[in-house]
């Protein structure tokens, strides 16, 4: 019983680790204060290889970047794209892919 519980726990843990990093990237962007200007961020991020969708939330200043399955993008690439659009990138986090 204890062994099976341990195996289940390990499985869940490794499963979680395996999924971590597959979900959308979330970038907090400073200076994002106008809808018309937000298009620049969308355009620059969508130009990165593997990017599927970009969603901007004006109120929170968070830009969500969804990748095509299996694709990844580096922190450096994301920061450069935001900076090239004329804004200041802050924290970047990565969530889990939704089932």
């Amino acid at each position: 019983m204890k062994l099976s519980a341990l195996i289940l726990a390990l499985g869940l843990s490794f499963g979680g680790l395996a999924f971590a990093g597959d979900g959308p990237y979330q970038i907090r962007v400073d200076g994002l204060s106008c809808p018309f200007c937000s298009y620049g961020i969308e355009k620059k991020l969508k130009a990165l290889p593997g990017v599927d969708q970009v969603e901007v939330d004006m109120e929170s200043g968070v830009v969500t970047v969804r990748m095509v399955l299996g694709a990844t993008v580096s922190d450096k690439q994301l920061r450069k794209a935001v900076a090239d659009a004329g804004f200041t990138p802050r924290e970047i986090s990565q969530g889990q892919r939704q089932p």
Partner: protein, 308 residues
């Protein structure tokens, strides 16, 4: 209104703009951009904006028997391009239609011209930038050149048209300035100062021109932000203080030219992530013009912007 009272109003307006616009006042959320002049808003590397406007200008108030009336329609097309995150390049190509109605000894006559006006090219470099969550402050100098792309030798049945009635000036005129923008999710304030040196061509030069302009925009709708990037409707209040020196023809100043005008311009603007639709009317609050220079009745502006 006396000049003293007017000068107090002007001072108060600038105080409100500078302190309201450039300090960290806490007000409801909104955004937009100036309608009657340029701002320091970001234009990213490889991002373009196409801007079209139609301006309707009416000038009357001739104290002489000629009773001149000038109506101008100008349609400038602006192409802006982000060469880098800090450097933006602009090109402006206007189409103009000018009509002057004047009473001569033989009766009322109309003199008119239309065609391509003088183009302008200029660069803006973001020198100073402070970004915070939902908030940015930018300062950018501007330098540019007005090109003699418009004809300055148009004729009608009465002979060569007067130079102010020509579509173009014929001269290469440099200009420079500085613009500052404070933009939050709630509001935006802009202040721009520019100076143009009008050099002249064929023994004629328009007077130099200086402008000090301010704008304040406030979101009217939606009152509270939804998720994503909703379309915003803004109320806009702008002011333009325009000074021009006298024209010079064959080395002699024209005493009936130049002066100072202060416009107040209410406007409205609808902004989405790809487009802007806008309209404003500039009404002269004060005109201190030389000699028989025509007074401006109003300047109406409608326009759009498109992001690509």
């Amino acid at each position: 209104m006396s000049w003293f009272s007017m000068s107090r109003v002007i001072r108060m307006m600038w105080v409100v703009m500078l302190f309201g616009g450039l300090s960290g006042l806490s007000v409801p959320r909104a955004w937009s951009g100036p309608i009657t002049f340029s701002s320091a808003l970001p234009l990213g590397d490889g991002i373009g904006v196409l801007r079209g406007q139609a301006k309707f200008i009416r000038k009357t108030g001739d104290p002489t028997a000629a009773d001149r009336e000038l109506n101008v329609i100008a349609v400038p097309t602006v192409m802006a391009w982000g060469a880098s995150a800090r450097l933006a390049l602009f090109g402006v190509l206007p189409y103009v239609d000018k009509r002057l109605d004047v009473t001569l000894p033989g009766g009322r006559v109309r003199r008119e011209s239309s065609g391509l006006g003088d183009a302008r090219v200029f660069a803006r470099y973001t020198l100073h930038r402070v970004d915070r969550p939902g908030d940015t402050f930018r300062v950018a100098p501007i330098v540019g050149l007005k090109l003699p792309t418009g004809s300055h030798s148009e004729r009608d049945s009465m002979g060569t048209l007067p130079r102010p009635l020509q579509p173009g000036s014929g001269s290469w005129d440099p200009f420079f300035g500085i613009t500052a923008t404070r933009q939050t999710l709630a509001w935006e304030a802009d202040v721009t100062a520019t100076y143009r040196i009008n050099t002249g061509a064929d023994s004629f030069a328009f007077g130099d021109e200086a402008k000090l302009e301010g704008s304040f925009q406030y979101r009217l709708f939606p009152r509270t932000l939804r998720s994503g990037v909703p379309g915003f409707l803004y109320g806009v209040a702008e002011t333009n203080l325009v000074w021009s020196s006298k024209e010079r023809a064959a080395g002699v100043d024209n005493p009936n030219s130049g002066g100072t005008i202060l416009y107040l311009a209410p406007g409205v603007q609808y902004v989405t992530r790809r487009t802007v639709l806008e309209a404003a009317i500039q009404l002269p609050a004060m005109q201190n013009l030389n000699g028989t220079t025509l007074e401006t009745d109003w300047v109406g502006t409608v326009g759009f912007r498109w992001n690509f």
